[in-house]
Symmetry: C2
Subunit: 457 residues, 2 copies
């Protein structure tokens, strides 16, 4: 048997497992400016709204039915539902529901959705520990920093290789957040990161199935259990991330160690977290934004339109090139459907990706008029949209940065409107308002249980 | 951002996810010759002995302490212990203990230890379902076939890349075994394989830490939960294994589809499962065997020996090249320690890899006299051993196939002796004897609970 025993060892790899562990264990509480805390409040609120909004979705129902076969102890809240499960399964289930609508937060440099793995684990554990809101925010900022920095280190090679990067870095963020909440020292935090390192979750082939949202859920559970194991003395390689047979070099070709070390503890990746106005993959947001802009500017109706031409980055068709989506889930991976929805409805929330809308004759008719081609001059964040009308008029817009991007972020009011849209149908408008206030007041909350108590019917 | 969007798509990839699902769901019970059932009996017995033997090890104690924080329901047996946990955590914990001593079974073509992920999941679920021994054997044969065939498909590239192949294929075997026990049809079994496909566990950097035995445990748990989720309608990609962004092409460079399809349902990989006489990684067994042979043939004692020269395959030093192991766990990755133990003790069971033995002056003194060099003419299964005595005599043996290999398998009597060595100290000799009988009689057992009841104090 011929083995390739050549290891891509990097003798200059810094001890990043140790470096991240010391950061997670030792960085001062609230050791950052107010803008970082505000980003954390927004991240928690957006994640909470997505999870509550999907509480009754068949995806969560199927996962919960399976977990109930384990007769889990009622330790923690399933967001938006009255059942309770143990903290590991709460992390799993809330991670699943928060990503079910593809409406959660995005760290644009890596396309990681960091709240799913990190906050799902942290809130379940914080509720169980009766931790303060401050402790939850600290764990959130630190956990998201860990997984997004690891993402920066490996992106894009790791993602291009086929990994769903949210689940294949998120377990490290979840482990860091939970180690922090448990008060583990740097040595045990390092072991927690190592145990989590062996448990990446997710390949991109699952996009369009229920297993996509399983990825952040599984990562949340894996990270939480890793931290509990480390607390009790379970060991792992202290160089699990950077060693020649560690994860960076097993899961990726690119390993840019400086992404871990430069600015650690000074700049925080949560500041680069963004929130979606549209309930689908981020790469088609510029196209939708362009369609909505043309619709509103020219009062377009579906019947006016002869054709829609999109010029997009190659990743758009690679990820969302489904021409004839058969249901709501598949439609999130169809730039054709999304563009049609933007023209017809002027928005693309969860309703516009429902089975009924996707299979309606009007939507299908317009969808079939959408053409998309790859244009190498167009950035991942951009799209070029032209609408040709039956009467011969042609309208055009080039979107350089879609609404929801770092350059055109959603305002707090936008986020609150989105939150109400998700939460009101499940818990009612009054509870939604109180939850918004609870998120904004997390830094002062003596216990996160004030928040979790509001998050179920 | 420059993406490498070229996907290594293979237009000729057969639908192996579907093929394996149909096999797992549809192959007749006991649809093989008696030799296959005998291999399954031996596999279950050897795995059971390893798990019970490690029941009090600090590795399992730390893992169990973490899991107890989840207040798990007492659904299933932890082998060798009186506590009970839910079936997912029983799969995890029994998977950990069965691999803690590195003494479990080995599928030599891939170095997969298949019982850890497959039987740990299957027995926990079978106990809960009150399934028959026949059903457990069927699930074992089928689950091991699935993960070892996937291993054959990707080995050695997948392993060389850094994956601990037991945990990164085992979740598929566990899912197949549990889907079989649950009676899922081919469609749902296919979904179970898909959900499991997103959850590989383990990088080789963890070798020598407690996280190595976590890998089969995590794979067992992941496969079991995947099957439960599929039972309740959770979906995944029906092409999770073979699609361009599926696991074969994300986790490996080599994807030899014929390893899945050729002989499926006719030849069974469990027939190629082997059992270890020595409690350490398989690659150093030929070296130990050679040392034991020379010791016994020439009545060598440590004080007689001036030097020991080993000529070995490159993988031996890559995997077990630790020159100065500091404790029992590390000593399993030291061909130097193992050779010295072979000369001094004439055997290399768990005791010879204990902290006390590893740090004893006599062992260290002889270990320092061991030299090992890579010889490219020597096969992975072989070793060339020379012992030079202080009086100038030189003894030499070339081991082509170590005891425990396919060519020189352990007999049933050997396996029973090994089982007693592991189980007697934990449960007593009488229970060990009854457990051996229960394993041999599995095909006739109305319920696996007769076995699990014997497997705890």
């Amino acid at each position: 048997m011929a083995h390739n025993t050549e290891v891509r060892a990097d003798p200059n790899a810094p001890p990043i497992t140790r470096i991240l562990a010391r950061f997670a264990a030792g960085h001062p509480s609230a050791g950052w400016d107010a803008g970082v805390d505000h980003a954390a409040d927004r991240t928690v609120m957006n994640w909470l709204g997505c999870a509550i909004g999907a509480a009754q979705h068949p995806t969560l129902a199927a996962a919960l039915a399976a977990i109930q076969e384990l007769s889990p102890a009622p330790q923690a809240t399933i967001l938006g539902r009255s059942e309770r499960v143990d903290i590991a399964n709460a992390a799993l289930l809330n991670g699943i529901s928060s990503h079910t609508f593809d409406f959660d937060d995005t760290h644009l440099r890596t396309i990681i959705h960091p709240a799913g793995p990190v906050v799902s684990a942290a809130l379940a554990l914080a509720e169980h520990l009766d931790a303060s809101g401050r402790a939850l925010l600290d764990a959130t900022v630190i956990g998201i920093d860990v997984c997004c920095r690891v993402g920066n280190m490996m992106y894009p090679d790791h993602y291009d290789r086929g990994w769903h990067i949210t689940g294949s870095t998120g377990m490290l963020g979840a482990a860091a957040a939970c180690a922090r909440l448990l008060g583990l020292d740097a040595d045990r935090t390092q072991m927690a990161l190592g145990i989590a390192a062996s448990q990446p979750v997710g390949v991109r082939e699952q996009f369009g199935t229920m297993t996509k949202p399983f990825h952040p859920g599984g990562a949340a559970r894996n990270g939480l259990i890793a931290a509990l194991m480390a607390k009790h003395g379970y060991t792992s390689s202290p160089r699990a991330l950077e060693a020649p047979r560690g994860i960076a070099q097993t899961y990726s070709t690119k390993c840019d160690w400086s992404e871990i070390t430069v600015g650690l503890g000074e700049q925080f990746e949560i500041s680069a977290n963004t929130f979606k106005p549209f309930a689908c993959g981020i790469v088609i947001h510029p196209s939708i934004d362009g369609c909505v802009q043309l619709r509103n500017a020219h009062r377009l109706q579906a019947g006016d339109v002869a054709r829609i031409d999109l010029r997009v980055h190659s990743l758009v068709l690679e990820l969302t090139g489904k021409k004839t989506p058969k249901n709501g889930l598949e439609s999130k991976f169809s730039v054709f459907h999304a563009a049609a929805a933007g023209i017809i409805f002027g928005q693309a929330g969860e309703d516009e990706f429902s089975d009924g809308v996707v299979t309606s004759a009007e939507v299908i008719a317009l969808r079939d008029k959408v053409r998309a081609i790859v244009d190498d001059t167009i950035d991942e964040a951009a799209a070029d949209v032209s609408v040709t009308c039956n009467d011969g008029r042609v309208f055009h817009v080039r979107v350089e940065h879609a609404i929801g991007s770092m350059e055109r972020p959603m305002t707090d009011a936008d986020l609150e409107r989105k939150f109400h849209g998700l939460v009101d149908p499940v818990l009612g408008e009054a509870k939604a308002r109180r939850l918004i206030a609870a998120c904004a007041g997390l830094a002062q909350a003596a216990s996160v249980r004030a928040l979790t108590a509001l998050a179920c019917p």
